[in-house]
């Protein structure tokens, strides 16, 4: 059936534009245009009013606008940074970049850990063991009902209540837990590791190629060549062999107590740990619920049908249940990942120097309120947009293809 605007059966909004506008209040299109002009006018008017006031206020307070302050020397002491930083040399711009990197670091680690713990708890809630199901349900209920900020403050005071370095708890005198954070032995970098990593990359590539080939062979012959020998050979034996070829160098930088603090080794600061623990335990509560409802959304008949086909338990879970559950899980999971990233901004309350915290210090030192808040918002919008783009792509990949 050809649908044209003259078709009387579909009179209404769609057909309106072709018939032209009547300048009458009884014409929906005319009304829509008038309303839009009014609403846009109000919004633009309010916006103009605010901008006008802001300009006046800035002029009155003699605040220069612009991003020139980014090139000035910051003088903000920063405790932990992934790139080199010296507060007496480097600029506000670099300090803010460090803030972004710190935000990304805690978000990425947090997302990974929260997903693992949340999935375990979610599966635990479905356990046939009554006690385990009850305990995980209790955890989920309680952790979700306490404000995250309160939890962060709690964890931070807990970590500060740990013994001082001299009475630190140690694991075999190589790793230490004290109120200065976690001290871990650090592997000193050797040239051999670079080559071993190259070998590992080659091994991963070979494994992927081989498993693709195995799938092709399986489709043609019905017999799947085993993949594990290639996987172990490429990803374990090859890197180890390269490392051994270079004489198996291994130097550990072990932290040791000197005076009142530790020297050497790597540090995980109490601020980072508190933020990470808080974010992970809180978000895991939400992820657990998502995973549970995702698994429950797959009808029991899917299990029964797969078993009737004689498939093994692992295969059923991997090939039948998970792909269907993921379809339900991915969209809400995306918003949890976004929440975790945005919630990492609470770091400012416990002194971890993420983007908000450093930007806040910058604001207090320079007074450039508008620029600094614009930077914070731009950073989060970029991160949020990237995560949702990636998750949308993944979601589209696993979505049900209908007809």
């Amino acid at each position: 059936m050809s649908v044209t605007s003259s078709d009387p059966r579909i009179a209404g909004a769609r057909a309106a534009p072709k018939r032209g506008i009547r300048f009458s209040w009884s014409d929906p299109l005319f009304r829509a245009i008038i309303w839009q002009i009014v609403i846009v006018g109000i919004v633009v008017g309010i916006g103009w009013y605010l901008v006008h006031n802001t300009m006046q206020n800035l002029a009155a307070r003699r605040i220069a606008t612009g991003f020139d302050f980014l090139d000035r020397v910051a003088g903000i002491p920063i405790g932990e940074s992934m790139i080199a930083y010296d507060s007496s040399v480097h600029t506000y711009g670099r300090a803010l970049v460090i803030g972004v990197l710190n935000t990304l670091q805690v978000s990425v680690v947090g997302i990974i850990l929260a997903t693992i713990i949340g999935t375990l708890v979610g599966i635990g809630r479905l356990s046939s063991n009554w006690l385990l199901a009850r305990l995980t349900a209790f955890y989920v209920e309680v952790i979700r009902d306490i404000p995250l900020l309160l939890q962060l403050l709690f964890w931070y005071t807990m970590l500060q209540g740990l013994p001082p370095p001299r009475q630190a708890w140690s694991i075999g005198d190589t790793a230490f837990l004290s109120n200065r954070g976690i001290k871990l032995p650090l592997l000193e970098w050797q040239t051999a590791y670079g080559f071993a990593l190259l070998g590992l990359a080659a091994g991963i590539a070979a494994t992927i190629w081989w498993s693709r080939r195995a799938s092709r062979v399986q489709e043609q012959t019905g017999v799947r060549p085993s993949v594990w020998p290639v996987a172990i050979g490429g990803m374990v034996v090859l890197p180890l062999a390269i490392w051994a070829l270079f004489g198996a160098p291994l130097v550990l930088d072990i932290p040791a107590l000197r005076g009142f603090n530790f020297q050497g080794g790597g540090t995980i600061s109490p601020e980072f740990s508190a933020l990470l623990i808080g974010l992970v335990t809180y978000t895991a509560g939400f992820i657990a619920e998502i995973v549970r409802s995702g698994i429950q959304a797959v009808p029991n008949g899917q299990w029964e049908a797969a078993r009737a086909l004689g498939l093994r338990h692992g295969v059923i879970l991997r090939q039948i249940i998970l792909p269907q559950a993921l379809r339900v899980i991915i969209p809400p999971m995306t918003s949890q990942y976004l929440n975790l990233t945005k919630n990492s901004s609470l770091a400012v309350a416990i002194g971890f120097q993420d983007i908000v915290s450093i930007a806040n210090t910058t604001l207090n030192q320079t007074g450039q309120a508008i620029e600094v808040i614009a930077i914070i918002m731009a950073v989060y919008l970029t991160i949020s947009l990237s995560i949702s783009l990636f998750m949308n792509w993944y979601n589209a990949r696993i979505a049900l293809v209908e007809r």
Partner: protein, 434 residues
Amino acid sequence: MTDATTAPRVRPPASVVGPWAWLRANLFKSWLSTATTLVLVYLIGRGLLGLIDWGFVNAVWGVPYNAQGVPDTASCHAAKGQGACWAIIADKYRLILFGRFPFDEQWRPAVAVVLFIALYVFSAIKGVWRKGIDSPLLRTAAAIAVVTVLATNVVGWLGGILGLPTVLGDILHLIDIVARYASGVLLLFVWPAIGVWVVVLSAIFVLMAGGVYGLSPVAVDSWGGLPITLILATFGLAFAFPLSILVALGRRSTQMPAVKMICVLYVELIRGVPLISVLFMASVMFPLFMPPGVNVDKLLRAQIAVILFAAAYLAEVVRGGLQALPKGQAEAADALGMTYWQKTGLIVLPQALRLVIPPLVNTFIGFFKDTSLVLIIGLFDLLTMGKIALSDPPWQAFPTEVYIVLALIYISFCFAMSKYSRGLERELNQARGR
């Protein structure tokens, strides 16, 4: 074949019913389940015993005070690690709950909190949201009264900027007060639940601020504690919810692309940034937005930030409901010749909103917790008062006790809400026959 009714009744074997069977099925099904049960019983038992020891058996419930009223916390320090120091709560609970509100007047925030809770309970009762007397006259009168309140306030605000003569200001004030009472009473008849909200929220405001009915005026700066948390959450949602409905409708609009774009931009911008950045904006940038000489109170600024933030999230929930409603409903309304607002107000929204009550309540819970973020911009909500209580030197060493009490307060509010939401969800699913 014997008739089923005359056949001898045999009890099922003990291995299938009864407590033993339940234990076997739920705790000792396999060796793995048995091991899990044993480990968990050990861990939970130890944890509970430790908690009872710490929280009750070894706890310190009170400490002596010296002549200056300074507490002597030696017994608490002695018990630290083995027992809780509940003395800090006994000493500070008024400060934590009511902030720096004048001590002798603290019955006022206490009554305000009770009113808030009563309002929540009232709103959760089934059927209270039905409309009242169906009279066009009353409806019009109520609408005029509400619009008058809004208008007088806007004119008064503009007048404050432009410099209106005082006589006019006084007349406006008078009209405003009359219209307020009128709108409250009329709304009680037209739409009882909304009327109750308006009246109770006004009463709470009067209780807190004072200045009339013989109540001594109390500046907003000295409000604090639980009332601030409840004010931020309740007023925030009361204003964010209508706004969110408008935004959701705007986002679904097919005829107005410009309005749709504004709504999409607003929702996505707000949802892409953390609440803290919006609060920062309210606390540092908002003063720049205002004309010189106009000072907006810090609480009001945070309140506006919370409203704008909550509205964006609620709008997405409402949009979900609008999308879930079958299109035929709107089309049928169109076919009956209803106008847009008749169709939306009488057909679409009542059904769409009912669908999304559970997620709405979950969003409410989220915002109730998120009000604690005002700590970062220095507002005296419940959590901030807890931190201030902890800054008192004698008590600095006992944060855990305060945090636990704060957590319990938040949990009791959130748990009640989530229990309610789950009850609704079950009802909804039953109604849908699932």
